[in-house]
């Protein structure tokens, strides 16, 4: 038994990292012929495996997320949620998908048909591309590019354009309003998002996600401790771009029906729905990678497969998104933009300044990390608490001194205006 497990763990199909078997396969292909002629086969096979893995993962993840989200939200809403299809309603997502596929795919007569058809397809691309750089394990990154953080931002910045495509081509006023709102919001929230990511990049000196995880592994600390402000601003601004409830102004159901995807039906709507979930998952994945150590879990990753740790973190953080969705009412667009420009942006700027100072102090003086990191952690946490609480107090949307209860009148006639 020990021999078997030792063999398993030492061999290329070590399941702690699924990158190992793939690497072995590619190496084997590359070894064909004289060792260089068939490199292009390896090139293509590697690409195909990466794409297939992401596609498969996303497919399963989205199906599971539909169920998880519906179930969790229904618990918040004191109801049972799906419980008829399959055990615990587990087959509900499948049923949903089947239903959507069977539905008629309507195309507005006066709309722009090509763009209308293209939008739900194109909107999938950024989601897929983001998952391409997420490190599921030490060697489990489909594309380990050196500017991954910037890449994520760049990919995300393409989404508003697709939203616009969907909204404009529907030739529906609600859709157009939704598209305009979506673009305005995406532009505003990109700035605090980039700035909060800048804090992380400055602190770690890495722009590739694996490097950031390894940095956290090296100093044995999660970045949320060192960068609480960045974690907060990133979470808020990234989740704002997801079009989920507190910030779903682009598809605000009660105002503009469904925003940019009002006119979509059938599987085209299903794609938008899936992308929304996929993006939410991507954001929680990025959040987990940047601020919660990614696949690393205080040495436990030696025994637990790294990808399991990462998936666990990702799903737990996704829970935070579900809770915000289930509990908060929507903000108005001007309040949302105010929030981005007047609350998140200053906080993110302060964070960048503080990080720059700290990194300079650390690097220039060559102080050992053991001393400097705990100090930074305490300072940053205190600073972020003070800043957030103080700012909320002074910025607060509504003033404090307002009646929060209705006045009760027993003698109505006397209280009538004369």
């Amino acid at each position: 038994m020990t021999a078997l497990s030792g063999f398993l763990l030492s061999q290329w199909y070590d399941l702690r990292d699924l990158g190992n078997p793939v690497r072995a396969l590619i190496d084997w292909i590359n070894g064909w012929g004289d060792g260089t002629t068939f490199h292009w086969v390896g090139y293509i096979v590697a690409g195909l495996i990466g794409a297939a893995a992401i596609g498969l993962f996303l497919g399963i993840a989205m199906l599971s997320l539909i169920w998880i989200e519906r179930k969790a939200v229904s618990r918040i809403q004191i109801r049972y949620g799906p419980n008829r299809t399959g055990p615990f309603g587990l087959l509900q997502p499948v049923a949903d998908a089947l239903k959507l596929m069977q539905k008629e795919a309507l195309t507005p007569l006066a709309g722009d048909k090509i763009v209308f058809w293209l939008a739900p397809v194109v909107i999938f691309i950024p989601t897929l591309l983001v998952f391409g750089v997420l490190p599921f394990g030490p060697k489990m990154t489909a594309a380990n590019i050196s500017v991954a953080v910037l890449y994520i931002v760049a990919i995300g910045s393409a989404t508003p354009l697709v939203i616009f495509m969907a909204g404009w081509s529907s030739n529906n006023k609600y859709s157009l309003l939704g598209a305009m709102r979506g673009i305005a919001m995406a532009i505003s929230y990109e700035i605090p998002m980039v700035l909060s990511l800048l804090g992380v990049v400055l602190f770690t000196g890495h722009m590739d996600l694996n490097g950031i995880v390894q940095w956290q592994q090296k100093y044995h600390v999660w970045l949320i401790v060192l960068q609480p402000l960045a974690a907060l601003t990133y979470f808020i601004s990234a989740s704002a771009e997801l079009n989920r409830t507190p910030t779903d102004i682009a598809e605000a159901e009660s105002e503009i029906v469904a925003g940019y995807h009002t006119e979509y039906s059938g599987m085209k709507f299903g794609l938008f729905y899936a992308v929304e979930l996929g993006n939410a998952l991507a954001v929680s994945g990025i959040w987990a990678t940047l601020f919660f150590g990614g696949w690393w879990l205080f040495g436990l990753d030696r025994w637990i497969p790294a990808w399991l740790i990462f998936l666990g973190k990702m799903y737990i953080l996704y829970g935070a998104l579900i809770i915000t969705r289930g509990t908060l009412p929507r903000l108005r667009i001007d309040q949302l933009l105010d929030f981005a420009w007047k609350f998140l942006l200053p906080l993110a700027l302060v964070n960048v300044l503080v990080v720059a100072l700290e990194v300079t102090i650390w690097q220039e003086n060559g102080i050992s990390a053991g001393i400097v990191l705990p100090v930074f952690a305490v300072v940053n946490i205190l600073l972020s608490v003070v800043l957030v609480v103080g700012y909320v107090q002074s910025f607060g949307f509504a003033r404090r001194q307002r009646p929060r209860r209705a006045r009760l009148i027993t003698d109505t006639l006397a209280a009538m205006p004369q």
Binding site: L413, M416, P417, Q418
Partner: protein, 183 residues
């Protein structure tokens, strides 16, 4: 308990305020001639004694020989209620002054009466049909509405309102109903 003012009481007050209003009391209600309706309503609203600030309900009744509009007005401060009625003898094109300038709340109720009884309210800022569409033939709450011979004409538009005039908002005072089948 809201005091339901008797007709005499209200008429006495009206006669004090407006001697030539010719209001006349019948039981609990006050019959006001259409010519002095607006003046009476305004006086009742502004009178410190009655303070009829709140138009509770406004409707009309078709008595076949004549129409009657009924106004239930009340004072929140004094907690009393009076019933004003106004008789319209004309049937083909009944018209009566609008009280929207006195009570803003009459706006929708007068539109409803116009829609269902065909009583025109002179001075109403926005007199359009509300439940039925412009061009609906007949006024359903009139007692003779069902007497349209079956098959002779279906109430309704001969065609959709947008059919001829291009596009845009086509209901409203600038839009005239297309000629109906009757002619």
């Amino acid at each position: 308990m809201t005091l339901e003012l008797t007709g005499e009481r209200v008429v006495a007050r009206i006669n004090e305020l407006l001697p030539d209003a010719h209001a006349e009391a019948v039981g609990k209600s006050v019959y006001v001639p259409a010519e002095s309706l607006l003046a009476v309503c305004e006086a009742l609203r502004d009178d410190a004694d009655l303070r009829m600030q709140h138009l509770t309900s406004m409707t009309a009744v078709d008595y076949v020989t004549h129409f009657e509009t009924v106004y239930h007005v009340q004072s929140l401060a004094k907690n009393h209620l009076a019933v004003l009625k106004c008789r319209i003898d004309e049937r083909d094109d009944p018209e009566i002054p609008s009280v929207v300038s006195v009570w803003y709340g009459a706006q929708l109720q007068e539109r409803e009466v116009y829609d269902l009884f065909g009583i025109r309210f002179a001075g109403h800022p926005d007199l359009r049909r509300i439940f039925l569409w412009e061009g609906f033939a007949g006024y359903p709450l009139r007692k003779d509405f069902l007497q349209i011979a079956a098959g002779a004409q279906h109430p309704g538009l001969p065609h959709f309102p947008k059919q001829e005039q291009g596009f845009g908002v086509l209901t409203g005072p600038n839009w005239t109903a297309p000629p109906s089948h009757e002619s």
